[in-house]
Symmetry: C2
Subunit: 392 residues, 2 copies
């Protein structure tokens, strides 16, 4: 057995990791817009990237380098360096070149507006402000925010039965363009566990399916989505089950935080799908619900419109039948295998559930053992406001 | 050759067709909520229905009857008779039974709220108000509206080279839940052309792909979507090419009208996709764009955010490459195969296009000959308002 203990020190929780954020003038009003993560020793890297074909330059740059270790990540917000062609790659090379005396194989990651060249000079000047001895994880977490309304961090200390321990810490950004296929999200995870590259990649891929890939704000998938896990092995300790559990908890927490911070969102809804023909069909239903505009606006209106839920299940393309379907809001079953339960009294009870800031919508399809859980939010006026004129 | 002449008489344009709308108290304030279409002679029927698995009772009822002719359609708004199980079928039987003395094999069609039993008595009383000698196509078109802000009708007289002619008329409702896989839409088309059932079904199926199935308001697909084409052959005239052309023009007009009337929509945007690997991939891109929340909110904000368009193309899953992609707003090319054209001056010009109530967004993927055109709208505060509390 092992114990997990929550720590406050985010991406600096693990031994040997440093981080901070600075203002390079990319955002207005001296807001922090550049962050670094530094490890005193080199790290193995595991990563998951967007499936978007218009892959942003930083991701292409990372992939082009093949297999390597690093001790430094440079992150900027406000500009995604996407759709910038070969020039976008050259810009990264020139920026990272200025760091080559102090760090090993630095990696760059960007988020923000698409289709504008990086303000290279500002970023090079900004990087000169970095102090690699700083441990300011929240400052780093704030610097990578775009439309986020709060920063997102978490860390665990994992203590094994023999008393030895390792740590995992993380920060993420993301509040929109978050879709079951990754998100406009960046997530950086650091650990001092003594894990191999292959094993942490396998665990990261698997956990992504049930965490970041199960979270949706608006169904869009960005050019820059990145999850990066750095391991410097400095604790000398590792246990697969414990690492896996802690990592997935961290990723689930951050995925839920992103949805909770969904642009204009006021509710975090967990869609629990069971009884589908198989897990894949359950996943299709769960993601259809968390992406449906009609469901999302009904959530915003706190309207227990279970008919839209049924219709969305039916429209998702999987095997479904109104005679075997049941639908619940938390523990309140509002439709049961063809039985119209929804009277005035139940509507009042269901409306009370809808007023909560967090609740579950469960659909049992009654056809098999397939199950999947996704996370979604409502869509209200604020979403429109935030997205109608994002660039200005 | 043949000539098309536009007529004002909607669903009553073709010889022998009658229609009207009445108020049965389903909607509040004496608004019309029931309509009929009657033909003095029996009609062959072609139809296209929703792919939603939670198929509404009227569609199941129609299908269960197998092959038949009819001279009467009864349509109600405000209640969809969906998720109502076997009781929903019994309700239809009882309602139609009351009409059996006056009409032949009557068909029922419904639209409105899901998961509530039909107010059967009100509908039976309402049907007694029908006067089968009435030709009030606009009254019928108004009675089938739900969230529509205007009624949708069109008709053509088709004159062949020898001077003989036939007519096609139609009405439709639909303003939301309209998706590339049909829509919460009802469309009734009447014709006096002498066309066989098989031929008109084939032409209807084919035209649906490029018209109703290319229109999107919010990406949702309803339980009740129905396109029904009735032919009473009373003109004795038919020409395949002319019929096909007129029918597709009618369907495209109505599909565009539905998008123009999209809940809260202020812009009708045509997405012209070319250069995809094949037509299917072009269709995926076109529909991804017309369904993207980020694109739709950018349209609402009149923000020429071509980066979101590129990102959505990339996220659609088809073959795409920033080095071969180009994007235009009307005739203004804003991104050309890796070339960042977008400066201050172009932004101003692009913003002018975005202010129009109708414009094209063209994407050439530069990879092949595949093409597809879809219709979409913006998404603004009104959409949220309309959908946050639809049932009340």
């Amino acid at each position: 057995m092992y114990k997990l203990k929550k720590l406050e020190s985010g991406v600096c929780a693990a031994n040997g990791f440093y981080a901070d954020g600075v203002s390079a003038g990319l955002k207005s009003g001296n807001a922090k817009d550049m962050a670094f993560i530094y490890s005193s020793t080199e790290c193995e890297i595991a990563s998951v990237f967007t499936t978007n074909k218009m892959t942003a330059a930083p991701i292409r740059h990372f992939r082009d380098k093949g297999d390597f270790k690093t001790n430094f990540i440079l992150i900027n917000s406000k500009n995604a360096n996407a759709m910038t062609g070969p020039a976008g790659i050259v810009d990264i090379d020139e920026i990272l070149q200025t760091l080559s005396a102090t760090v090993k194989n630095p990696v760059m990651s960007s988020t923000g507006v698409i289709g504008v060249r990086l303000p290279k000079e500002k970023i090079i000047e900004g990087a000169k402000l970095f102090d690699l001895k700083k441990r300011e994880p929240n400052s780093a977490a704030q610097a990578i925010m775009t439309t986020d309304s709060f920063s997102k961090e978490i860390a665990f200390e994992v203590t094994l039965e023999d008393g030895s321990s390792f740590r995992i810490g993380a920060m993420a950004k993301g509040a929109g363009m978050i879709n079951p296929a990754m998100a406009t999200m960046l997530c950086f995870i650091t650990t001092d566990a003594k894990v191999t590259k292959e094993e942490m990649q396998e665990i990261l891929d698997d956990a992504t399916l049930r965490t970041f890939n199960a979270a949706s704000v608006d169904g869009d998938t960005s050019t820059n989505d990145t999850v990066m896990l750095l391991a410097n092995a400095s604790s000398g300790v590792y246990d697969r089950a414990a690492f896996r559990d802690a990592l997935e908890k961290i990723m689930r927490f951050l995925a839920r935080e992103m949805v909770r911070d969904g642009e204009g969102a006021s509710k975090l809804v967990t869609y629990k799908i069971t009884g589908a023909k198989d897990d894949k069909e359950a996943e299709v239903v769960a993601k259809s619900l968390s992406n449906s505009l009609l469901v999302k606006t009904a959530l915003y209106g706190e309207d227990p419109n279970w008919g839209r839920i049924a219709s969305t299940v039916g429209a998702s393309g999987v095997d479904a039948d109104e005679k075997t379907l049941s639908i619940s809001f938390n523990d309140l079953c509002v439709y049961n295998k063809g039985e119209l339960l929804f009277d005035k009294k139940m509507e009042e009870a269901a409306s009370e559930v809808m007023k909560l800031s967090e609740f579950n919508i469960s659909c049992d399809l009654g056809l098999g053992d397939g199950k999947f859980t996704s996370f979604g939010c409502d869509l209200g006026y604020e979403y429109v406001k935030i997205n109608a004129d994002y660039r200005t």
